[in-house]
Amino acid sequence: MLRNRRKLLHRATPALLLAPGLLLFLVVIVFSALRTFWISLHVWDGFGDMAWAGLANYVELWGDPQFWVSLRNNVIWLVVFLLAPPLGLAIALLVNQKIRSMRLAKSLFFMPLVLSTVTVGVIFVWFYDPTYGLLALIFDAFGGTAPAVLSSDTWVTLAVVFAALWPQVAFCMVLFLAGLNNLDEEIIGAGRVDNARGWQMLRHVVLPQLRQVAFIAVAISMIGALRSFDIIAVMTSGGPFGSSTNLAYQMYEESLFSYRFGYGAALATVLFAIMMVFIVWYLIRLLRDERGA
């Protein structure tokens, strides 16, 4: 009797331990995602009744020039954010050397990670300010006129992405630093015996061991690029005239300023579908590695 109960408990333990996390995941992620999709099939102003609209929101999305601008900006974010892992790796290799005062350099590179995104955004707004900003002062020193990057519909998205890249590079650097600390000394020693140095050592001995870390850095950078929203809100509010808006920001704007929750939900669904590609890729890789191990 007692043994049976113990057996049952033994079997139920994993389920019980997983339950809180699963419940949270179901309510916060799965239920919200399904509900968002449901809302996207309606016209809804946020309160009052929802009116069934079928796929009308998606059809409108297709013909909405702002949607294509947002999508293009999301692509720019993704591409530029791909720079974060290699830059992070470069800095990690630099500061990982045992040289005096490297600790200080390390903490300086680490700093943007401690700052909140809002702070980073504000700092960069000041930096880009066409009259008083540091960028303007630099241009002045060389007798030029600084471009007002946040007012230019061509440059504004890049200007915002570069601001966001700063903490992202720091994040990747931390990941790679951790990876570098876990390198197998024996393999490196073997490489030394075989006379590998410099580039060869890096290319054939160090980098293969960092594959797992690099994979995580890329995946997280991609997802970070897609969900970027706060820094846009702080730096440009999606402007000028929507040129720096991405899908996440457009969703916020349509829902909360234009009170079009159905349309906002349609944008969220599209964004979710794009993210799914990266999430599924990430999960498949993860599962395959786990099985392989």
Binding site: F47, A148, L150, G239, F241, S258
Partner: protein, 416 residues
């Protein structure tokens, strides 16, 4: 182990006692309560409101709580709290912004309270809170929009404010010759560009047209709109506005006026926040220049208001509070720190420089609208705000921009 158990027992006992005390408290405390949600951003005005609430609480024996919210965050939160957990008093904007909530039955009808107190006689702006003859809120103060400038700068240069459309260009040239930006504007937050549109449309097409446009009864692709965009394009192309305006919020644009780098700026009385205390006395108000000599003088006059939500738990106390709050002295002590013009005409504002300037500016006004994003549906407003911001940066896109706004208008108000 023993100690732990003892501690736990003691803890349970203490919390039980505390719980009982909490439950018991309301039983012998007063039952009269009042909850106010305020969206006032100016810290001095916040303090003034809290002092008023406290005074009301002591004299009427009411427990008053004032919940302060960030001005911008409140704009979205109100949709939630009016339905889910309405306070007894809240602050809002009259016009379309109020009407939407009135149509959903979320604000109380206080027509009888207004009649009882004869407020309509001293508040010409009462129309701003009236829907179909019923009154749903009390106007507290108004913001008169126009061109502000520094008297000392104008004296030094021997300038007078531009009075007609032609003056725009002559004045612009002299200002530029003096090394100044003729008209400062910061369109980062988009609304200043829409405000300029209001002025132009009111001057060129008049109030009736403007009201019809705001109510969605005129298409943005109508020929009358190009009559506004064309002269506006000339202003932009003549280089009369601050360069890279989309990089600046209104505060930074106002700073250029304060620093004598710009000659004039289109704003309301709150421009004084952008000025150092000692310079505020230099501020003067000039109405927007005329385009059509035969057209009446119509201005944007945005009215802030105070309301009782329909779901208020203590509507009687809320009415008492409004009666107290709307006395001339009380209203004045609430408005003085802010500088907006009191809605009651029986308040003497001569002691406040900015208010007196606005009051002078109000003389001779033939009719008022509120402000672009207060007059039209929020969805259309968002499209319009974005469109006019784009227009001021790329005036050659006027037709495409109007077509974009028209799409939003047609979606909301239907095809014409």
């Amino acid at each position: 182990m023993t100690r732990l158990r003892l501690n736990r027992r003691r803890f349970l006992a203490t919390s039980a006692a505390a719980g009982t005390a909490c439950l018991g408290a309301p039983l012998y405390a007063q039952t009269r309560e009042l909850v106010i949600i305020s969206n006032r951003g100016n810290p001095d005005q916040r303090a003034a409101l809290e002092a008023l609430a406290k005074e009301f609480g002591t004299s009427a024996g009411v427990k008053v709580s004032v919940n302060n919210m960030d001005h911008e965050a409140h704009k979205t939160a109100i949709r939630n709290y009016l339905v889910a957990s309405p306070p007894d008093i809240n602050f809002w904007f009259s016009g379309e912004r109020m009407q939407g909530f009135v149509e959903r039955g979320l604000f109380s009808d206080i027509t009888d309270l207004v009649e009882q107190n004869g407020w309509a006689d001293v508040v010409p702006a009462m129309g701003a809170t009236t829907v179909d003859g019923r009154i749903y809120g009390l106007p507290t103060a108004g913001l008169l929009w126009g061109l502000w400038y520094r008297q000392d700068v104008f004296d030094e240069n021997g300038w007078t404010p531009p009075a007609t459309a032609e003056d725009f260009f002559t004045f612009g040239e002299t200002a530029k010759a003096a090394g100044m930006t003729p008209f400062s504007i910061g369109t980062k937050n988009m609304w200043p560009a829409a405000g300029w549109f209001d002025h132009m449309n009111l001057r060129i097409n008049g109030l009736e047209h403007h009201k019809d446009l705001m109510a969605g009864r005129i298409a943005y692709t109508d020929a009358s709109l190009m009559k506004v965009m064309e002269p506006w394009t000339e202003l932009v192309n003549a280089g009369l506005f601050l360069e890279n305006a989309t990089s600046y919020a209104w505060e930074q644009a106002a700073a250029t006026l304060a620093q004598k780098k710009a000659a004039m700026m289109d704003l309301a009385g709150f421009i004084s926040y952008g000025f150092p205390e000692e310079d505020r006395g230099q501020l003067r108000f000039a109405p927007f220049p005329t385009y059509d000599a035969g057209m009446g003088r119509y201005e944007d006059f945005s009215v802030d208001s105070i309301h009782i939500p329909a779901g208020a738990k203590n509507p009687e106390v809320a009415r008492e509070f409004l009666t107290y709050f709307y006395q001339p002295d009380t209203l004045w002590s609430y408005l003085e720190p802010d500088g907006n013009l009191p809605a009651r005409t029986d308040i003497d504002v001569s002691g406040n420089h900015i208010m007196s300037e606005s009051k002078k500016g109000l003389v001779g006004v033939d009719g008022t609208s509120q402000y672009y994003d207060r007059d039209t549906n929020p969805d259309v407003a968002q499209a319009g705000l974005k469109g006019f911001q784009e227009f001021m940066a790329r005036p050659d896109r006027a037709e495409r921009i109007l077509a974009d706004i028209e799409r939003a208008r047609a979606r909301v108000y239907g095809a014409l």
